[in-house]
C-alpha cells in the first residue's frame, strides 16, 4: 500500500527521466495491422499466483458509441484507474479505428494518443486506408501507469494546411471495441478495517466492480445487513458499474468461496475457528485473508444472531472502525435517527436554487485556454415540470481574453444537448464578469442526474481560413462563478405514481426516505442468488443516489408480508418462487388470453373516451401485447403498481423468467445508459434491451400543488373532463346569454316579438 502511494509520487520524475534518456522507450511495443474485425486479444492464459491481467474496452470506459473525431472535436479523455493492490508492469492500448478522409479534404490531420500527458503515438492514415478498419497496439511502460491515469485522444492539425476548406469534418472514427489491457502483480494488502472500503472497492479503478457476497443463511436480517453493506458501497462509489455475485454456502463449508475480495455474512458460530484471534461476541466486523487466495481478503460481517449481523452492517455503513486492527467486536451499534422525507444528502434540498458552488469545487469551475467546465447536479426526482418548457439558469461567468479574441464563444450543453451560445467579448488586459439568463429545455433534463457543460471556445479575430483553431493559450481563462445557479423556485414537488421513470432516476419513491425507512423487499421464501444479487445492486444504486446507506431497509417473504406491508414494496423473484408476483402482475398479457383481450378493450375504450390520458402511441397495452407476442423471450419484467396494502405506496414487481433471467436484468437495469428506456408502469427486459409501456392502472399523487395548478393538472390528466365541462358550460352560457340578450332586446321595444332565428 505504502509502496504504491510512493510510486504514485515518484512516477512523474521517473517518467520524465526515462523519456529524456530513452525517447523511444514508450513506443517499443507499437504494432500496426489491418484488422477488419478481430480484436487481437488472445484468450487469457492461466495466470500464475499473484499475477493479474485486465482488459477494458472503451465501452467499459464510458464510451457509449463509436467516436468520430475531427479537427474541431474536443479532446477525448478517458480515466483509467488501477486499484492500489495491483502493481502494473505494462499496459497496452489497442486502438481500433476507421480512417475516413472527406471527399474534398486536402489536409492531413493526425490523432495524438497521450497517456498521462505524455505523447505515445500519432495516428494518421492515407486515402487508400479509407473505410478499412485498422488497429494499432500502443504499449505503455509500467512505470507510466499510476493508480489514476488519463488516456487522451486529441487532434493535431496538418501544420501545412491547418484551416483547409472542408478540413473540419471528422477524419477518423474510434471504435468502442478498442481496449486497454493492463498486466502486473497483485499485492496482499494488510487487513485493516480503517482502510475500508479498500480493497473491496477502489472507486477510481476502471471497469466493472465485482464484489461477491457470500451468505450462510438467507434470514431476512442477514439480507438486510447485506443490503446495508451494498448501499454503503454505493455511497462510497457512486454510479460505478457494480456487480454483486451471490454465493450461498453450507454452514462452515468455505472451501467453495469465490475468488477475489469478498464480503461474508455469517453467524459467529459459522465462522471457522482461527480466523480471528479473539472470539466473536456481539456484532462483529473483521477482515481476513481469503483461505484459497493469499492476495484476496474477506470482509466478515457477523454476530451471534442475524439481528447482530444487521447491527454490524449498520456499524460498517457508519464507518465506525478502530484506527488499526483487522477486526472488532462492536458495541452499541444502533441505527441513526430517522430521516425526513426528501432529505437525502445528495439531493437538492433547496426549493429555490441549485448554486453551482455547492456542486463543484472552484477549481473545477475554471478552464485555462479553450476547454470545458462540467457541472453535474441532481434535480429532485419529483420536481414537477409539467407545462413548462424551460428551467432557467442564472449563469455568472468571468473571462479573461485578449483584444483579438473577439470570436470567442461560450457554448452551453445540457446532457450533451445544445442549449445556448454566448459571445465572449474581448477583455483587454483585465477580466470581465458577465451574467446571463439561460433557458434550459425541460425536455433535455432527466428526472435526476444531469450535467451542464460550458465550453469556453477562445478564437481570435482572424478569418476562419487563417485561424480555425481554438486558442489554448493558458493565459486565457473562463470561470463559471460559484454563485451561478439553476432556478427551480417556480417548480413544485409533485409526482404521479406509479412512474417507473423515477425508479432508475433517483430511486423514487423508495429513496424519498433516504435511509429506506419506507422500503420493504419481499423475496420468495427461499431467495435465489439472482434475487439477492439484484437486490444488492438496487441498494448500491439507492446508496449512490441518496448518499446514505439503507440502514432501515426491511426484508420479508410472502409469509411475513405484514412486516413490511405499510412500505413501498419491491417484490423480487420468479413466478414459480414468489406467489405474490402473480397477484401484482395479473394485468400482464402473458398470463392468459383473457388478460390480453381485457387490456385491448380497455385500451380502445380509453382512447375513445379518454377519461384520463391514454398511453402515448406505441407505448400502450396493444403495444405491450405485441411485445409479448414477439418471438423473442423476455428475461424479465419490471412492473410498478399502486400498493393495495397502504395508500400512497407502490409495489415494484421485479419478475424474472428464471434466476438467470434475473441476473440478466441485473446487468442492464442499473446501467445509466439504459435508464431512458425505463418509464411507464411496465418495462419488459429482453436480451436485446428494454421496452416500456403504460397500462391503465390506478395511480396516486405525492407532493403538493396549489389548488389552481392542481385543478389544471386534473383536467390535463382527464381530457374527457374538459370536454364534458366545456359542453355543459357552453350550453349554460348559451341559455344565459339568450336570457340576458333578450332582456336587453326587450328594453328596445317591449312589444317586439323577436323571432328565434332571423337568418332562417
Amino acid at each position: 500500500m505504502i509502496r504504491i502511494r510512493t510510486c504514485g509520487q515518484i512516477i512523474p520524475c521517473l517518467m520524465f527521466a526515462m523519456l529524456f534518456f530513452f525517447p523511444g522507450a514508450s513506443l517499443a511495443l507499437e504494432e500496426k495491422m489491418a484488422s477488419p474485425s478481430s480484436v487481437p486479444l488472445s484468450p487469457p492464459m492461466p495466470l500464475p499466483d499473484g499475477e493479474f491481467h485486465q482488459t477494458l474496452s472503451f465501452e467499459d470506459l464510458q464510451m457509449e458509441k463509436d467516436l468520430d473525431i475531427g479537427p474541431n472535436s474536443a479532446d477525448q479523455t478517458f480515466h483509467i484507474g488501477v486499484s492500489p493492490d495491483k502493481l502494473v508492469r505494462n499496459a497496452t492500448i489497442h486502438l481500433i479505428y476507421r480512417f475516413r478522409p472527406g471527399l474534398f479534404q486536402t489536409a492531413h490531420h493526425t490523432l495524438a494518443v497521450d497517456w498521462n500527458g505524455i505523447l505515445l503515438r500519432n495516428v494518421s492514415g492515407s486515402p487508400q486506408d479509407s473505410g478499412l478498419v485498422l488497429s494499432i497496439s500502443i504499449g505503455v511502460p509500467g512505470f507510466l501507469v499510476n493508480t489514476r491515469n488519463t488516456l487522451r485522444l486529441r487532434v493535431i492539425r496538418d501544420p501545412k494546411n491547418p484551416c483547409a476548406i472542408f478540413g473540419s469534418v471528422p477524419f477518423i472514427t474510434i471504435l468502442r471495441r478498442s481496449t486497454v489491457t493492463v498486466h502486473g502483480s497483485r499485492i496482499g494488502v494488510p487487513p485493516r478495517l480503517s482502510d475500508l472500503p479498500f480493497p473491496f472497492l477502489y472507486p477510481d479503478a476502471a471497469g466493472l466492480r465485482r464484489v461477491p457476497f457470500v451468505f450462510v443463511s438467507t434470514d431476512p436480517d442477514v439480507l438486510e445487513a447485506a443490503g446495508i453493506a451494498a448501499s454503503w458501497l454505493g455511497v462510497n462509489g457512486p454510479y460505478l458499474p457494480f456487480r454483486f455475485p451471490v454465493s450461498i454456502v453450507k454452514k462452515r463449508d468455505f472451501s467453495t468461496l469465490p475468488p477475489g475480495h469478498l464480503i461474508l455474512l455469517a453467524l459467529a458460530r459459522d465462522i471457522p475457528p482461527g480466523w480471528f484471534p479473539a472470539p466473536i461476541s456481539g456484532p462483529f466486523l473483521g477482515i481476513v485473508r481469503h483461505p484459497a487466495d493469499p492476495f484476496s481478503r474477506i470482509l466478515v460481517i457477523s454476530g451471534q444472531s442475524p439481528g447482530e449481523i444487521r447491527l454490524a452492517a449498520i456499524a460498517l455503513s457508519e464507518n465506525r472502525f478502530p484506527p488499526d486492527g483487522g477486526f472488532e467486536n462492536l458495541q452499541g451499534a444502533y441505527p441513526p435517527h430517522p430521516r425526513l422525507p426528501d432529505d437525502a444528502p445528495r439531493w437538492v434540498t433547496s426549493r429555490n436554487t441549485i448554486p453551482f458552488g455547492s456542486l463543484e469545487s472552484p477549481d473545477a469551475l475554471t478552464v485555462h485556454g479553450s476547454g470545458s467546465v462540467r457541472v453535474s447536479f441532481s434535480l429532485p426526482p419529483d420536481l414537477f415540470t409539467w407545462s413548462r418548457k424551460w428551467i432557467h439558469a442564472r449563469i455568472r461567468f468571468r473571462i479573461r481574453t485578449k483584444n483579438r479574441e473577439n470570436r470567442s464563444r461560450l457554448d452551453i450543453f445540457l446532457n450533451d444537448r445544445y442549449q445556448e451560445s454566448l459571445p465572449l467579448p474581448a477583455t483587454g488586459d483585465g477580466s470581465i464578469t458577465q451574467t446571463a439568463d439561460i433557458p434550459l429545455a425541460v425536455s433535455d433534463f432527466t428526472p435526476f442526474r444531469n450535467r451542464l457543460v460550458f465550453n469556453f471556445n477562445f478564437r481570435n479575430s482572424f478569418p476562419a481560413v487563417l485561424s480555425c483553431t481554438m486558442d489554448k493559450n493558458p493565459r486565457l481563462s473562463g470561470t463559471i462563478l460559484p454563485d451561478s445557479a439553476i432556478d427551480i423556485h417556480a417548480f413544485p414537488r409533485f409526482a404521479v405514481l406509479p412512474d417507473l421513470r423515477l425508479f432508475p432516476n433517483g430511486g423514487y419513491p423508495f429513496t424519498r426516505y433516504a435511509d429506506q425507512a419506507r422500503t420493504g423487499i419481499v423475496f420468495s421464501k427461499v431467495p435465489g442468488s439472482g434475487d439477492i444479487g439484484i437486490f444488492l445492486h438496487m441498494m448500491a444504486t439507492f446508496g449512490a443516489q441518496t448518499g446514505l446507506p439503507a440502514v432501515r431497509i426491511r426484508v420479508s417473504n410472502p409469509e411475513t408480508l405484514g412486516r413490511v406491508e405499510k412500505r413501498n414494496l419491491v417484490i423480487i423473484g420468479t413466478y414459480d418462487s414468489n406467489p405474490l408476483l402473480l397477484k401484482f402482475t395479473r394485468s400482464l398479457p402473458w398470463e392468459s388470453t383473457a388478460n390480453l383481450e381485457k387490456l385491448r378493450r380497455e385500451d380502445l375504450l380509453l382512447k375513445i373516451f379518454r377519461w384520463k390520458n391514454p398511453p402515448p402511441s406505441h407505448f400502450g397495452p396493444s403495444d405491450l401485447i405485441h411485445e409479448f407476442k414477439k418471438a423473442r423471450i423476455p428475461v424479465g419484467v419490471l412492473m410498478e403498481t399502486a400498493s393495495p396494502y397502504h395508500p400512497g405506496r407502490v409495489v415494484l414487481s421485479v419478475v424474472g423468467v428464471s434466476q438467470n433471467g434475473i441476473r440478466s436484468m441485473d446487468r442492464v437495469l442499473f446501467d445509466p445508459r439504459h435508464f431512458s428506456g425505463i418509464f411507464g408502469n411496465v418495462t419488459v427486459v429482453t436480451p436485446q434491451g428494454m421496452n416500456s409501456f403504460f397500462l391503465p392502472a390506478s395511480s396516486f399523487e405525492t407532493g403538493h400543488l396549489d389548488w389552481l395548478q392542481s385543478v389544471r393538472f386534473w383536467f390535463y390528466s382527464h381530457p374527457i373532463g374538459i370536454v364534458v365541462c366545456v359542453i355543459f358550460l357552453v350550453l349554460g352560457t348559451g341559455f344565459l346569454l339568450r336570457a340576458l340578450l333578450r332582456h336587453i332586446a326587450d328594453k328596445h321595444s317591449p312589444d317586439n316579438d323577436t323571432p328565434e332565428n332571423t337568418s332562417a
Binding site: K389, P616, L729, L736, L737, L740, I744, A745, A760
Partner: protein
C-alpha cells in the same frame, strides 16, 4: 326577485366564462389528445347545429364553443409557439413568426367582435303611426346628386313622389351639386324643390347640410339618387321615430336590384348572397341591439333636431354617414335599424368601380378611427365602442389577409419557420378552431354569407385598400370624396388585367410555393408533416386567389337598366280589338316580357296598350312588340307621359314588398358545398386568368367596354 335572478344570471355567466377560459388555458398532453378534444367539440357543435339549427340559444352556444376553441388556440399560440427563448429559433425567423402572429391576433379580435355584433340580431319591427293622419309629422325628402345622369335620378324622384304620405306633410328636395339646368327643369316639371348651392364644399355632406339649413320638416329622409324608395318607406320608418323621442334615425337596408361584380362576373346573381347582405342582413341588425346602428348615408329617416344638435352631417371624413352616426351616439341619441328593404338601388357595375368605392369606405373608416377613435370617444357605451371598433378594424384586414396569403411561402421557398411548433400540434389546435368558427358563422349568417366568401371579398380588396388605409392611419386628412360609379354598360366581356395584377402576382407566388413544396416533399427537404401542412395552406390560398381572379373577368352588361322579375296579371289590347291576357315575367324601365295564357296573333312592331292592375286602379302603358316566341312576348314601352312614367316606377319599384328577401340566398350555407363552389370558381378563375393574360383583348382596344356613367 326578478332583479335578483338577473344578477344571478350575470354571476353564473361570468363564472362560466371564466371557467371556460380556465379550461381553454389547460394544455393537452400531446397533439393526439388535442385533436381528439377539438374533434369531439366540433362534433358536438355539428350535432347541435344539425339537429336544432336556427334556435338562438343554439347559435349562442356555438358562439361560446367557438370562443372556447379560439381562446384555447390563442393561448397555446401565444405561450408555446412564438419561440421566445428557444435557441433553436434563428434570429431572422422571429419577424416571420411575429408577423403571422400579429395577423392571427387581428383575426381573433375580429372574430370576437363579430360575435358580439351578431350574437342577437334585434329584428326590429315597424312601429305603427297614429291613426289620425292629421297628426303625422312633416318629412323632408332629400335626394343629393352630383354628376349622375338624369335617367338615374328620375325614377328616384318619381318614387319619392309616390311615397304614401300626406302630400302637405311631404316635401321633396333635389340637391343638385352639379348645377345642371335639366335637373332644375325636371324638378319644376314634377313640382319638387330644387336646391343648388353656390359653393361645393364637403361633397355630399356639404350638399345635405346646405339643404338642411333651408328646410324645416321634423324629419329628414335621405336617398342616394339611385336608391328608389317604395311607397311604404315613410309609413314603416317614421313610426319608430315618433314613438321614441330619443331616436335620432332609422336606417333601412341598402338593396340592389342589379347584380354586384361578384354576382355578375361569377354568374351567381340570386344564387349566392350578395356581398353587402351580411352587413344589412345580420350586422346592422346585431348592432341595433347595442344601439349602435350605423347610418349608411341613404334609405334613412333622421330627426332634424338630432342633426341640428351635431351641426349637420360630419364633414371631416369621406365617410360622412358613419361619422355622423358616431357623433349622434356620442351625444346619447338612439338609433334603429329596420331590416325591411324599403328602397333599392344599383350595385357597382364593375370590379374596378366596386374597389374604388371600397377604397373610399376604407379610407373614411380609418379616418374616423384616427379622428374619433371609438375606444376613446366619450359618450359611447362599451358595446357601441366595440361595434364601431369592429366596423373600422374590418378595413384594416388588408395586411393580415396578405400575410395569410403569403405566410406559408416563407417556409416553402426558404425553409423559414413561421411557427415554433410541430405540424401535428399546429393542425390539432388550428383545425378544430377553424372548423368551429366556420360552423358558428354558418349558423349566424345562414343565408346572408356563405363560408369562405368573406376571404374572397377581403382578398379582392386587400391589395387596394392597404395603402389608402395606411396613409389614412398616418395622415387622416389626406384624400377627397370620390363619387361611386353605379351605372354602366359593358358591351363585350373582357379580362380586367389591370385590376387583376396584384392577384396574378399572388397567384404566381403561391403557384411557385406549391411547386417548391412538391420539390421539398419529393426531395425530403424538411419535415414531411410541415411540408404537407404548408402545402395544404397554399392550396387553400390558391383557391381563394383563384376565385378572386375569376371576378376579374368582366361579363357583358348590355342593358341600361336590369330587368326585374315581377309578376302581374296583364291585359294586352292590340290592333283590331284583340285582347290578350297574360302575366308579366320581368319588367324594366324600358319594357316588359309577358307570358301569354294562350297563343295570340301579334306581330313585331305592332303597337299595343298594356293594362296592369295595381292597387285601386288599372295602369295603362303604350308599347310595341319587339319579339316573341310561342308563349312569351317582349314589349318595349313607347314614350311615356310623366304620369305613366310615375305609374311605371310605382309598379316596378314602389311596391311595399318589392325588395323583400332580395339578396338573400335561396339556400342556407353548407361549409363543404361552399368549399366546393369556391374550388370550382378557383379552377375557372385560374383558367380565365391565363386566358385573360394571354388572349383576352383589352377593353380599350374594342370600343366602349369601360364602365361608364356615375351616380352618387
Amino acid at each position: 326577485m326578478h332583479r335578483f335572478s338577473r344578477t344571478a344570471q350575470v354571476f353564473f355567466l361570468v363564472a362560466g366564462v371564466l371557467l371556460l377560459f380556465f379550461l381553454a388555458a389547460t394544455p393537452s398532453p400531446d397533439w393526439e389528445t388535442q385533436l381528439w378534444l377539438g374533434s369531439f367539440l366540433f362534433a358536438a357543435g355539428l350535432l347541435l347545429k344539425s339537429v336544432l339549427d336556427g334556435k338562438r340559444w343554439v347559435i349562442l352556444t356555438l358562439i361560446s364553443l367557438s370562443l372556447f376553441a379560439t381562446f384555447r388556440y390563442a393561448w397555446w399560440r401565444t405561450t408555446q409557439t412564438l419561440g421566445i427563448g428557444d435557441p433553436n429559433v434563428h434570429w431572422y425567423e422571429y419577424p416571420f413568426v411575429f408577423i403571422l402572429f400579429a395577423a392571427e391576433l387581428y383575426s381573433w379580435v375580429i372574430l370576437v367582435l363579430g360575435y358580439l355584433q351578431t350574437a342577437y340580431p334585434l329584428s326590429r319591427k315597424a312601429d305603427q303611426l297614429p291613426k289620425d293622419i292629421a297628426s303625422w309629422p312633416d318629412v323632408d325628402i332629400l335626394i343629393p346628386t352630383y354628376n349622375e345622369p338624369l335617367a338615374i335620378v328620375r325614377p328616384t324622384i318619381l318614387a319619392a313622389l309616390n311615397i304614401d304620405w300626406p302630400p302637405d306633410r311631404k316635401k321633396i328636395f333635389l340637391l343638385d351639386d352639379g348645377d345642371r339646368p335639366e335637373f332644375a327643369a325636371f324638378a319644376e316639371q314634377t313640382g319638387i324643390s330644387y336646391i343648388a348651392r353656390p359653393e361645393h364644399h364637403h361633397a355630399k355632406a356639404g350638399n345635405i347640410n346646405f339643404a338642411l339649413a333651408r328646410t324645416e320638416g321634423k324629419y329628414v329622409a335621405i336617398f342616394d339618387c339611385d336608391h328608389i324608395p317604395t311607397r311604404s318607406f315613410l309609413q314603416t320608418t317614421v313610426g319608430i321615430l315618433e314613438k321614441s323621442p330619443g331616436m335620432a334615425f332609422v336606417q333601412t337596408p341598402h338593396h340592389f336590384y342589379s347584380p354586384d361584380p361578384y354576382e355578375k362576373n361569377l354568374n351567381v346573381f340570386k344564387k349566392l348572397p350578395n356581398e353587402g347582405e351580411l352587413f344589412y342582413g345580420v350586422i346592422q341588425d346585431g348592432n341595433d341591439l347595442w344601439n349602435a346602428t350605423t347610418f349608411c348615408g341613404s334609405c334613412t329617416v333622421m330627426r332634424r333636431k338630432a342633426l341640428t344638435e351635431i351641426r349637420g352631417f360630419a364633414v371631416e371624413t369621406v365617410t360622412e354617414d358613419a361619422h355622423t352616426s358616431i357623433k349622434l351616439h356620442r351625444r346619447g341619441w338612439q338609433s334603429a335599424y329596420l331590416n325591411l328593404p324599403q328602397a333599392a338601388g344599383l350595385a357597382t357595375p364593375s370590379l374596378s368601380a366596386h374597389i374604388r368605392q371600397r377604397i373610399r369606405w376604407a379610407r373614411g373608416m380609418i379616418q374616423i378611427f384616427r379622428l374619433e377613435n371609438p375606444l376613446l370617444a366619450k359618450g359611447l357605451s362599451l358595446p357601441q365602442k366595440l361595434c364601431y371598433l369592429n366596423g373600422m378594424l374590418f378595413f384594416l384586414s388588408s395586411l393580415p389577409r396578405i400575410i395569410f396569403l403569403t405566410a406559408p411561402l416563407a417556409y416553402l421557398y426558404f425553409g423559414i419557420r413561421i411557427f415554433d411548433a410541430d405540424a401535428y400540434s399546429i393542425a390539432s389546435y388550428a383545425l378544430p378552431t377553424i372548423g368551429l368558427s366556420l360552423l358558428t358563422n354558418a349558423a349566424i349568417n345562414g343565408r346572408h354569407r356563405h363560408s369562405f366568401w368573406n376571404q374572397v371579398y377581403e382578398t379582392t380588396l386587400a391589395p387596394y385598400i392597404f395603402l389608402p388605409t395606411l396613409l389614412a392611419l398616418i395622415k387622416p386628412g389626406l384624400g377627397s370624396f370620390n363619387v361611386t360609379a353605379k351605372e354602366g354598360r359593358i358591351e363585350k366581356e373582357y379580362y380586367d388585367r389591370d385590376i387583376a395584377k396584384p392577384f396574378i402576382v399572388l397567384w404566381i407566388l403561391n403557384l411557385g410555393g406549391l411547386f417548391s413544396g412538391i420539390l421539398r416533399f419529393t426531395g425530403g427537404f424538411g419535415e414531411i408533416p410541415t411540408i404537407i401542412l404548408t402545402l395544404a395552406w397554399t392550396i387553400h390560398n390558391l383557391l381563394i386567389i383563384g376565385t378572386t381572379l375569376a371576378v376579374g373577368w368582366e361579363r357583358a352588361q348590355r342593358r341600361f337598366r336590369p330587368r326585374i322579375s315581377v309578376t302581374f296579371p296583364i291585359r294586352i289590347s292590340g290592333g283590331g280589338g284583340q285582347v290578350i291576357y297574360g302575366e308579366t315575367e320581368d319588367m324594366s324601365d324600358f319594357g316588359v316580357r309577358v307570358r301569354l295564357l294562350k297563343s295570340a296573333a301579334l306581330q313585331t312592331g305592332e303597337e299595343v296598350r298594356l293594362e296592369i292592375p295595381f292597387l285601386d286602379r288599372i295602369h295603362e302603358f303604350p308599347a310595341e312588340v319587339v319579339g316573341m316566341d310561342e308563349f312569351s312576348v317582349r314589349f318595349n314601352f313607347r314614350p311615356l307621359t310623366l304620369q305613366e312614367e310615375r305609374d311605371l316606377v310605382l309598379i316596378l319599384y314602389g311596391r311595399a314588398d318589392a325588395w323583400v328577401r332580395l339578396g338573400i340566398s335561396e339556400k342556407a350555407d353548407s361549409i363543404l358545398k361552399s368549399l366546393w363552389e369556391v374550388t370550382v370558381f378557383a379552377m375557372v378563375g385560374q383558367a380565365r386568368a391565363i386566358q385573360g393574360i394571354f388572349w383576352s383583348s383589352s377593353p380599350g382596344s374594342s370600343g366602349n367596354k369601360q364602365p361608364s356613367g356615375e351616380s352618387a
